[in-house]
Amino acid sequence: MRTGTATNSRPILAFLLFLISASLLVTEAFAAPRAKKKGTELLTVEVTSRQDLTRVYMNLSSRPEYAVESLEGDTVLRIRLAGAVLSPGISRLVPAGDERVTSIGVDEASGAAVVNIRKGSGLTHDISVEEKGTYILAVTVRGEPRAAQEKKEEDSGAVSGARVGGYFKNETAYRLSNPGQLSKVRNILYLESTGQLTDAISYKTSGRAYHDAVFDLTNNYPADVEEDLGRDAQIRDFYADLSMGDWDLRAGKQQIVWGEAVGLFFADVVNAKDLREFVLQDFDYIRKPQWAADIEYTRERFHLELVWSPFPEFNDFGLPGSEFPQAVPAPAGTVTLFNGTEEPSASISASEVGGRVSYLSDGWDFSLFHLYTWDKFPANLRTVVAPGVYLFTPEHKRINITGATFAKERGGVVFKGEFVYYQGKRFSVLDETDVDGVVEKDYLDYLLGVDYTFFEKVDFNFQFMQRVIFGFDDDIFREERVRTSASVWFKTGFLDNRLEPELLVISSLEELDMLLRAKLNYKFRGSWQARIGLDVFDGPDDGIFGQYSSSDRVYAEVRYDF
């Protein structure tokens, strides 16, 4: 049983969490070295290397008080010499020239001299202090560097072993529109393993599991939304790559990604999409991996790709009551009932097949593709049960998709284009007299874009997009004969690109129907990333973006890669 009082206090809690994250981020980003104190002087830092050990000598004017920290998975030893200052002529970057100790940085911070010794992982170290006129603090690193170990393995002809990596991530979002409330507290674990079985065969497996604590902390969503979004565990990649001369085969669960545009899915037509968070998720997670064989042939500048997917996947949509529910093609006030979605069962006859050819000529990157597939959006076949009562039977239909893309760089400007023609698309219509509530039309989606970097500092992208429906019917639900929209994107970097603000605005050009996404990304300590962001939807209730105008949100994310 969840109490209303607890629920009401959560927005404040969320705001506090958000503010704490933001202040931590800003503090971390702008932390400056503090004023130094006079004391012991660090005169020189030198390094010697032998076959079995590497020793770093810190020569100090008086006996040091020191502390040692092991950072970044034991790959950095930080020696903090309390009260010490750097000798004016000391080198701040000491050549190490050794795979055991790869670099030595010398700095001052918070009234201490700091020596960062970057070393190979898994190596042991010890520290000693000697007095020889001056004081020598010696750090000795022992063991065989990993590079040498790997070289031995390679020289012995062993097949390279598996590599395991991944990340842990927290995504917390707070809905701004009334009622303001926590909308996501998702903890994600992603694991992947890659390896080479023979010279010709390699593999990748990966999986993601998450739990969204928003359903434990609040009582804002219906039970079926909690069931849909509360937790998940799925295999993302599970495939083998086989290489034979000019031919390559990737077989298994995978993403097959076509197209040139970034941030939009025009020519990216092979995989189904998870739209339960509209298009706000990371792109890699919007695409749903599917079982397929991807055969590729490469000859100089020519590339051919053939795709066969025997197990079709379909788009996922937000349920009613979720933050981003799918629009229902019915006038306001209509009672709508749904049968289960009819999906084709896995069989040879249900296969999706396609091909793509690409050619690179004088810097022009062209490709043509065709895909015989299933419409990843269901056609909502409608029965008018009684006046004002509709029964929908969603059903996936076959569709042909033909497209072309290009990209070319000229004078620092990258030009991109994507043209995608859909044949046999079923659109919903609002006309109650229509027999099944859908009409079949062909349509063209195209995009023209440019990328440019201003002052070598600000990355910029502009994209112009149109959808043209041929033989347009005025009753088609939430579509126009020609719909024109555009997007602009800016991204820059500060603090050696560790702090990166980013802004994306996508809007219809006929009316204000807009999505604004502002983000601030911060990377720190080698393996950590933090992000705060704002997503704003604006426009009419029946607009692509305006329909979610009550789902504006702020969010914070923290990610640790390993």
Partner: protein, 257 residues
């Protein structure tokens, strides 16, 4: 008569001197040194194998008041103009790949799972110019002129001025010091079109890599910011044939980390 004799003598002396001059021309600097472009080509051969090879690269960037930052890469080079740069660390950038086919560039980012066309100017390329990380042959991109010889610590160096042939190279002009006796690159100064010195590079830590002595460390410094420097260390250089298809944008997704 007498005057005629003197005149003849003068003519003989002049003719003899002229003849000797033709036979044994006065030693000039340009005549003693090989052609400038040849010096640059020989220095290129020392900097990196002119064959297909792979090399590990560690870049440490240092700025005043900031902790040193380290990034590790694996670089694959094929022929004159095909390069792949795989980012191994930091962890959050692992999996980023850059493909350079001449002046055409693509970046593969793991979180969007597709190669995207980019320009040389794009920030996505990161802090250290990838031309610095990958093999950066001067031959072909620059026209060389031998300016002078210079003594540095008892060794003699050719000092060359390299001028960009096209407008699509990163630096307009380079001053290049190459040791006379063995063509080892010693130092390069990189200049903008305006004449401003942008960067200095010192080639050091010569070690045997891929069959000959090569500089294993490049130290790049910014003359405008005191204390700002980067070191680029090369290790595990191996001459190794690689298939053409590896160096295509569609293969980027298949590169293993």
């Amino acid at each position: 008569m007498r005057s005629g004799t003197i005149s003849d003598l003068k003519n003989i002396i002049f003719a003899g001197f002229f003849g000797i001059t033709l036979l044994f021309p006065a030693p000039s600097f340009s005549a003693l040194a090989p052609p400038a472009d040849e010096i640059v080509a020989k220095a290129d051969e020392i900097r990196s194998p002119q064959l297909d090879y792979t090399v590990g690269v560690t870049v440490v960037s240092m700025k005043p008041g900031a902790e040193p930052r380290e990034a590790r890469y694996e670089v694959l080079v094929k022929g004159k103009d095909k390069t792949i740069i795989k980012t191994l660390s930091p962890a959050f950038e692992r999996g980023r790949t850059l493909l350079m086919l001449g002046r055409d560039l693509w970046a593969y980012l793991p979180d969007i799972s597709k190669p995207i066309r980019i320009s040389l100017q794009q920030r996505l390329l990161g802090e250290v110019a990838n031309g610095d990380i990958a093999r950066a042959n001067f031959s072909g991109d620059y026209k060389a002129v031998l300016l002078k010889k210079e003594k540095i610590e008892k060794a003699s160096y050719h000092v060359l001025e390299l001028t960009a042939i096209g407008d699509d190279v990163t630096y307009n002009k380079v001053l290049y010091w190459v040791r006379s006796e063995d063509y080892r690159p010693h130092k390069a100064e990189f200049y903008a079109l305006s004449g401003r010195l942008l960067k200095t590079c010192v080639y050091g830590e010569y070690r045997e890599m891929a069959g000959r002595m090569r500089p294993s460390r490049l130290t790049l410094s910014d003359p405008l910011v005191k204390g700002q420097l980067s070191t680029i260390d090369y290790h595990d250089m191996k001459v190794k044939g690689m298939p053409e298809k590896l160096f295509t944008k569609d293969y980027m997704k298949k590169l293993k980390y």
